[in-house]
């Protein structure tokens, strides 16, 4: 197979390197791979993880909004708009914002408070495809739909196709 073939078949790449890929994936010894989920598996590492994340964040709102680790993403399931031409609270150009959303409760490591975060989907375009994250820290089954992140919440937008997700602080959970 020539390189030219490969230009049309991303799938073919699989065969050539599946072994090394899988070794990379599973060398941590469980189903987690490097990065996002580790601070949550190992609470003892949390402060260090946050300090690291804080380098890229804002005071009071620490963390990197292009990383699945970022505290607001505790119940996200989809693509981070921060990687797609938007930001943590803004949709990429050429999309529409869903007016309905699911909500999660995430703890801000900077102040220890639990915030109610709405996960608004940006809609009306193709899936962004960058920075996929799936964290189910406060997700619930489908019979509690407004706490469920498996639903395409673009039902609240003009076009219902899913692009990416933003995270908007709605207040402190009391």
């Amino acid at each position: 197979m020539s390189l030219l073939d490969r230009f049309f078949e991303r799938t073919s790449r699989r065969v050539a390197h599946s072994t090394s890929r899988r070794n990379t994936l599973f060398k941590l010894g469980s189903w987690m791979v490097a990065g996002s989920a580790l601070p949550l598996i190992l609470p003892i590492d949390r402060s260090a993880g946050n300090a690291h994340a804080a380098e890229k964040g804002e005071p009071g709102d620490p963390g990197d909004p292009t990383s699945c680790d970022y505290w607001r993403y505790c119940s996200i399931d989809g693509y981070l708009c921060s990687c797609c031409g938007g930001s943590k609270t803004s949709c990429p150009p050429g999309t529409d914002i869903s007016r309905v959303a699911w909500v999660g409760t995430c703890r801000n490591p900077a102040d220890g408070r639990d915030y109610i975060i709405s996960y608004n989907d940006c809609c009306g375009n193709q899936p962004c495809g960058k920075c996929a994250c799936n964290r189910n820290d406060s997700e619930q089954p489908i019979y509690r739909p407004f706490n469920n992140n498996d639903i395409n919440w673009c039902i609240g937008a003009e076009s219902n196709t899913y692009v990416c997700t933003i995270t908007v602080i709605q207040g402190v959970a009391t």
Partner: protein, 380 residues
């Protein structure tokens, strides 16, 4: 050199049997054709491929897991759910299309596809309310007698579009406030899972009109999380809580009865912190009368949708654990065929499908990159 000799020998023998001179044999002009599949066997597998990264390219991959062969592809609407007719003739999908690909006028249809030609047979327009989410088994279902198809709507108001597939018409939209999905109950009823911890059953008549509705309580939503992605075996739906407690719901003379609970995990397992996780995390073999559950160690509550490479088997008579299967890759959904030599199929997180022979207790093959997001597998 050996290979070359073999080849030449083979050529000579074959051509001489055709009484054609090897030296002057010339391949004839050919014609082309379109394949038609045989009537489906019980191993034929339909992979629902949400293709999440390229969701406009949602499709069904039709495969033969015995031969690890791709038989064909059905292009569907945006993240469409699918259901198979019991008579093996028809594949139904609940499709959402947009006039301009990702935008423009939305059209929802139920599409019937022939299971042998894979060509669309007919379509019926539905209210543009079809639920859109990571595809689940009970978004689109069919009555036991193949007469009605039930399509789940979520706007976020919930309802069920009832399609008479014999007469190829949409006959009713039944509102199910506070309830989700549709679990078929015999020929003329479906149930839905409700936020108050009940299953609501709606009975319809031959015209698809509502006759009655009733509720059966089966869990306390303030105390536990019940995974809605149950599996039907015979006349019983098996649900699991996110803690791995199995809640059977029996269909007895058309009525739903919450059965006795049992746990996937004994005290040792619980101390070792085993838990359930995955998307379609339960499967069942009617022939072996076994339940299969996707399990993982080091469980935490937030892992209730996590993939795993481990499947445990349970005897449904005794509730005893009777086997452990380790797959070469982590899968997110599992399925077991209904025949007497059942296969367990698993959709991996990388887009492969694992094929495991339950009667031989052996891994058969990994069908690599057969899908983008193989979220569900179904068979006749």
């Amino acid at each position: 050199m050996l290979k070359k000799s073999l080849y030449r020998t083979g050529l000579a023998v074959s051509l001489s049997s055709l009484l054609i001179s090897t030296a002057s044999a010339q391949l004839a002009r050919e014609s082309y054709s379109i394949e038609t599949l045989d009537e489906p066997d019980q191993h034929r597998t339909y992979i629902v491929d949400n293709n999440f990264t390229h969701a406009l390219s949602t499709r069904i991959r039709v495969v033969d897991p015995n031969e690890q062969k791709l038989l064909g592809t059905i292009s569907t609407g945006y993240m469409a759910p699918m259901v198979l007719s019991h008579d093996k003739s028809t594949i139904y999908t609940a499709d959402i299309f947009y006039a301009r690909s990702t935008r423009g006028e939305r059209t929802d249809v139920l599409t019937a596809t022939d299971a042998q030609t894979l060509n669309p047979l007919w379509e019926v327009e539905l209210p543009a309310k079809l639920a859109n989410m990571l595809t689940e088994l009970y978004m689109l279902t069919i009555s036991d007698d193949d007469r009605f198809v039930y399509a789940y709507n979520f706007t976020p108001a919930t309802s069920i579009s009832v399609v008479d597939v014999k007469n190829q018409e949409m006959v009713n939209e039944i509102e199910i406030p506070g309830c989700m999905l549709n679990y078929p109950v015999g020929d003329r009823a479906f149930a839905s899972i409700c936020g108050d911890g009940t299953l609501q059953k709606v009975v319809i008549d031959d015209q698809g009109q509502e006759v009655s509705r009733s509720k059966t309580r089966f869990f306390d939503p303030d105390e536990e999380l019940m995974n809605e992605r149950a599996i039907l075996n015979g006349d019983t739906y098996y649900f699991t809580t996110t803690d791995g407690v199995i809640q059977p719901v029996h269909i007895v003379d058309g009525e739903l009865q919450a059965g006795e609970r049992w746990s996937l995990f004994d005290e040792d397992h619980q101390q070792e912190n085993w838990g359930v996780g995955g998307w379609q995390l339960l499967a069942a073999s009617p022939h072996l009368n076994r339940l299969y559950a996707l399990v993982h160690p080091d469980h935490e509550p937030r892992k209730w949708e996590d993939p795993s490479d481990t499947v445990w088997a349970y005897d449904l008579e005794s509730g005893e654990k009777v086997g452990e299967i380790t797959l070469p890759n982590h899968v997110w959904s599992i399925h077991v065929t209904k025949d007497e030599s059942p296969l367990l199929l698993g959709g991996t997180v990388e887009g492969d499908m694992e094929v495991y022979d339950l009667s031989q207790d052996s891994h058969v093959a990994t069908m690599e990159e057969i899908a983008g997001t193989p979220i569900l597998m179904l068979s006749h």
